[in-house]
Amino acid sequence: MSGRYSRVGRTRPSGGGLELAIWYLMRLTGLGLFVLALSHFLIVHVIYDPAEQTASWIAEVRWSSLFWRAFDWSLLMLVLFHGFMGMRTVIVDYASGRARLFIMSGLYLLGLALFVLGTLVVMTLPVVPKG
């Protein structure tokens, strides 16, 4: 442990560069997710109920405005960075050598796939007027 105080989160990397940038971005995306992820959870579980959220409900109501599509896409970008960089830290803690390389490659491929799938659906799902 090289940090003076922080022993709960990952210690701030000394030396700068990419690792330090990731350290700061984890905290920045974390703050963004505190707002976006918690409001997303409240919207789909408290304001609405899962029982009414069919595919047509998403096309007609949930994603009927550019605002909510932009909101959900921002949430996707933040969670992909935060979640996959977080998993990277976990993997570095528990795997090493070839196993780490193998798991890490799978992790990044999965992240890329989710980026493509999520972006595709939020940007191309046709807006269906409610009726």
Partner: protein, 123 residues
């Protein structure tokens, strides 16, 4: 101080944070795929949604919400201590504060999510 910290609240705060984080990550993987189905295969999405709205689904969502809320609150605690190091002195009190907010916010939300189990799902 360090040894005591590691074996007690600080270590549990860290362990819960990691477990909750990995759990939320796993759900996000599932969730991005299921949302893709809205465009790719709406019938399959509607079927999956019935599982989300079922009693078991609601219990799992409540656990997911708890993991998300804990990770969010403890994450703020980490940020606070990272950028205002002297506050690390109160890390234990800050953790208890997280739990007070967790219970205060979490119980009403859990009630709303679980209520349809005994009242019948809204139509």
């Amino acid at each position: 101080m360090l040894l005591r910290y590691r074996g007690r609240e600080g270590m549990y705060a860290w362990a819960f944070h990691r477990i909750a984080g990995v759990g939320v990550w796993a759900f996000v993987v599932l969730h991005v795929i299921d949302i893709y189905l809205v465009g790719g295969n709406p019938e399959a999405y509607d079927e999956l949604l019935q599982i989300y709205a079922s009693p078991i689904g609601r219990v799992v969502e409540t656990v997911l919400g708890a993991a998300l809320l804990y990770h969010a609150l403890n994450g703020l605690r980490i940020i606070v201590m990272d950028f205002w190091p002297p506050l690390t002195r109160w890390h234990r009190q800050l953790w208890y504060l997280c739990w007070v907010i967790f219970v205060g916010v979490g119980l009403p939300v859990a009630y709303v999510i679980l209520k349809p189990i005994w009242e019948g799902a809204p139509t």
